[in-house]
Amino acid sequence: MLAYILRRLVISIFVLFLATILVFLLVAESGDPLALLRANPKIPHRVILARENLLHLNDPLYERYWIWFSHAIHGDFGNTVAGQAVRPQLVSHLLVTLRMVILATLISIVLALAVGVYAALRQGKVADHVATVTNFLFLAAPVFVVGLLLKEFVAIPINEHLNRIVFYTNGEQSPTLSGSFFSRLPDYAAHTALPTITLILVSYSSWAIYQRASILETLDSDHVRLARSKGISPRRVLMRHVFRNALIPVTTVIALDFAAILGGALITEIVFGWQGLGIWFLNGVNGLDINITLAYLLVTATFVILFNLLADIIYAFLDPRIRYD
């Protein structure tokens, strides 16, 4: 198992390496990040030359990549086009994004499993139809639509109705926030609620549909039939045989979707004005900022890879047939 995971890790890192080259080339070839400065005659030419040197813009591409790469493996992601260090920015934006993503992922998983099981057990009944249509609705609604609808038609009316702020619609915390962590918690919660709910709604739906199908499939399986034929209680059949086995495929689906959650977080951040990785990345791309783009790529891909490795471990734990060797 360890050998397998190490092998996976090595291959993942290799893929990641390829990805950085690809993205590096794409961004590098897409234009001159200093074009705006150059177009401004008020900026002394020497200022632009200095910036070029800082960003190594005049070096050959392979050399620029090597400079980036040799620094990046030591945790130094270089400077932004504006001349600031990338790393502190990366860390601060990452912490913001993780706040939403971790919470949303955990709740989505629980919600998806619950809704999936419930719908499967009520198969064909009204509850099943309601759950399924709801799931499909959230599956079909793009993230920004869900976010906007929640903001405009749920959060603001509630706030107005109660005449106090229950849901903040912008930002990850109030600007003047101070005090101990616990005294700040209610403010965090009021800011985090809407974006997290958005992310949950768009994430859970596909998993719930999948979980339902998986449960139905398992319910119909030979081994569940055998389990039932033993005369054990229906509850035990459900928990020990149906739910337990249905979890296996769902694990993979959730793991594979982690990249998608990060993509969804990007849009959610835009809708709710969160200064997370997504907005940072988008501004980086807009500014042809290679180092920001690559840092985002590196950190999201690393999370995806780690999450998938975690899923592999859980998978091996859930399914004894899997022996990674």
Partner: protein, 332 residues
């Protein structure tokens, strides 16, 4: 996951129809049995015409799928008719500014007097156009790559699948943003948009087809064809591909829905369709600030967008069930 070849134990069991980003949607499919009835799985092998009739009959018996089909074609036809016969075009500028829905303007007008109905219908058409191009492109590339990887295995497979993995470790939306930025410099043409969305959407089909091919190539009829001296190309195209057709078709349908999601998201963040052209995502973006005031600028595009995507998911789901022989299996 990054290493597809090692996913095989799972892939044998899993056959997800889609993995998407933006919406992060995974339209799941029932987990197929661990048995070996792959060939019959989607019922496309053998007596094609008879199977087709069966599939069609099953599809028609699924109310959601039929509703989805009606809505989808209803919207498409309405959009085409609007384009041809409606008083206003999506570029029309009238002197009725910010008017709520009325008989003359069923969905109201925007701040420069544009007819929202004409724009929403043109946006719908634009979305469908893009989505169809994406689906064709992604399916073609994906099926080709998957077929080659699954058929030849070995080094070819590894190289191709590593490339597929590239797109799995990064959020698809992030790749799209980078690509859209480059494309935007060339031209803000919807075809370019379709091409880049297609360029990131084919990997799922590739994995799907590859997994199918890995199992198909061990099958008797492939062995037999090989023994008879059929060329690789012929074996792939004439014998193996038809057997993988079911999942490919279902996946293509889902790709249509997902590319609308991607396109509208890109348009929402300003990297997709550019004015004066319109797409539903762009209309939502333009209307979002008006959600509570000039609600018609926001609500109509949102509803059409969601209904359009939903209808395609229903079609896809219906197709999947219709093509799934387990559906009608009776234990005996």
């Amino acid at each position: 996951m990054t290493e597809t070849s090692d996913l095989s134990p799972r892939q044998q069991r899993l056959r997800r129809v889609s993995t998407s980003e933006v919406g992060m949607h995974t339209l799941p499919e029932a987990v197929p049995p661990a048995g070996s009835d792959d060939e019959a799985r989607y019922g496309m092998a053998g007596d094609a015409r008879g199977q087709l009739a069966t599939v069609a009959r099953r599809f028609i018996h699924s109310p959601m799928a039929v509703i989805g089909l009606c809505i989808f074609f209803g919207l498409a036809v309405a959009a085409i008719l609007t384009e041809m016969f409606w008083t206003y075009s999506y570029t029309s500028i009238t002197n009725t500014l910010n008017a709520p829905p009325s008989l003359a303007h069923p969905m109201g007008t925007n701040s420069i007097g544009g007819d929202v109905f004409a724009q929403a219908m043109h946006g719908t058409l634009q979305d469908i156009e893009i989505a169809l191009v994406v689906a064709v492109l992604a399916t073609f590339i994906g099926a080709t790559v998957g077929a080659i990887a699954g058929f030849y295995r070995g080094g070819t497979d590894t190289a191709l699948m590593r490339f597929v993995d590239l797109i799995l470790v990064i959020p698809v939306l992030a790749i799209l943003i980078v690509l859209a930025h480059i494309v935007a410099k060339q031209a803000s043409n919807w075809l370019w948009l379709a091409i880049i969305i297609g360029a990131v959407s084919w990997t799922y089909v590739a994995r799907l087809v590859r997994a199918d091919f890995l199992s198909l190539r061990e099958r008797d009829f492939v062995e037999a064809s090989r023994a008879l001296g059929a060329s690789n190309r012929r074996i792939i195209v004439r014998h193996m591909l038809p057997n993988a057709l079911g999942p490919i078709i279902v996946n293509a349908t889902i790709t249509v829905a997902l590319s609308i999601v991607l396109e509208s998201t890109l348009s929402y963040i300003g990297l997709g369709i550019q004015p004066p052209n319109v797409s539903l995502g762009l209309l939502v973006d333009q209307g979002q600030d008006s959600a509570t005031t000039e609600w018609w600028l926001f609500v109509f595009p949102v509803v059409i967008l969601v209904v359009l995507i939903l209808s395609i998911f229903f079609i896809g789901d219906g197709l999947r069930e219709a093509l799934d022989p387990k559906k009608n299996r009776v234990r005996a």
